[in-house]
Symmetry: C2
Subunit: 188 residues, 2 copies
């Protein structure tokens, strides 16, 4: 269960963690900007395990705002944004050490402008890779569909006594040649 505004924990300093003048973007309904999350809460909210959160911290990808008197990690709502960011990057094919590099590069950037241009560069490269991967997956999707339709004929036209090794001489598949995904399964 996510606890809210755990201010009775030893949370030193002012009530609001960000003193930015701009209206802070409300992270989520029910998560106010001074919410404090324990590692378990953060884990549940992001679908990660506690172990994973710890790992991210060890790798420098994530930092708790603070610690409680008893050394509990205390996270703000921005940790949610951060962990979801990590997750999306992973889905895009970044390894955790790729992300480490990226975080370092962002941190080393003196100006926001430089940070933005570095981020753009990385994202632009990844966009190309992602599109390549999409093309590959779309092609494989087509091959799956083609194979399924090819195999459909086996379900209706083939006789139960025919053994697999007779497939190469099968006449029941119009003139279309055997899809790779089917041929590979027979070849052995």
């Amino acid at each position: 269960m996510a606890r809210k505004v755990r201010l009775h924990l030893t949370t030193p300093g002012p009530t609001n963690e960000r003193s930015s003048l701009a209206e802070p973007p409300i992270e989520e309904l029910g998560v106010s900007p001074d919410t404090v999350l324990l590692v378990g809460d953060l884990a549940k909210a992001t679908g990660k395990t506690v172990r994973a959160i710890h790992l991210y911290e060890d790798l420098g990808l994530l930092r708790p705002h603070d610690r409680s008197k008893g050394r509990y990690r205390l996270f703000g709502p921005d940790a949610l944004v951060r962990v979801r960011w990590i997750t999306k990057l992973q889905s895009l094919g970044f390894s955790l050490s790729d992300i480490q590099e990226l975080v370092r590069a962002q941190g080393d950037s003196e100006s926001a402008k430089l940070a933005a241009s570095r981020l753009s560069e990385v994202y632009l490269t990844k966009l190309a890779e992602t599109r390549a991967k999409l093309d590959e997956l779309r092609q494989l999707e087509r091959e799956l569909v083609e194979s399924l339709s090819y195999l459909n004929a086996c379900g209706s036209a083939c006789e139960p006594l025919v053994p697999v090794h007779a497939c190469p001489s099968c006449e029941r598949h119009s003139e279309s040649h055997t899809p790779d995904l089917v041929a590979g399964a027979q070849t052995h």
Copy 2:
């Protein structure tokens, strides 16, 4: 260099390895049905390493037709089909042990019909997974594009002296809220 028709190697048996009556599908221009490949040839032709080929054999995914007098593995052209099949399955997200299971199930199928229906089942499931992955990747692609356009504004409108931590209060990005892929990089 791929050698062809290495019949001077100890290749016992008749000249043609398949005596099927049907016209054998020519595997590739320059690869006739009685071509013999050594493991290195197979590796080069498929982009795999020799180690990988050995592994596939250990896992029961692949079998050399024969061995030379000196215990060299001798592969036929169907090994090409098989290795490419394995590669495509890997790209679809099958692990090698998934493929092991699949190969076992195919081999255990008495009839071609049963084998076909089992294969269909696996492919149908994988088709759904593939489409889900496609959806996810397409969404991430959109987010990359969105982030790049957002970051473009930083390159033109932002001042060189602005530090990264000032980004949350930036006014230069119309009303569109910060994309996750950008917000995550700033949150630290």
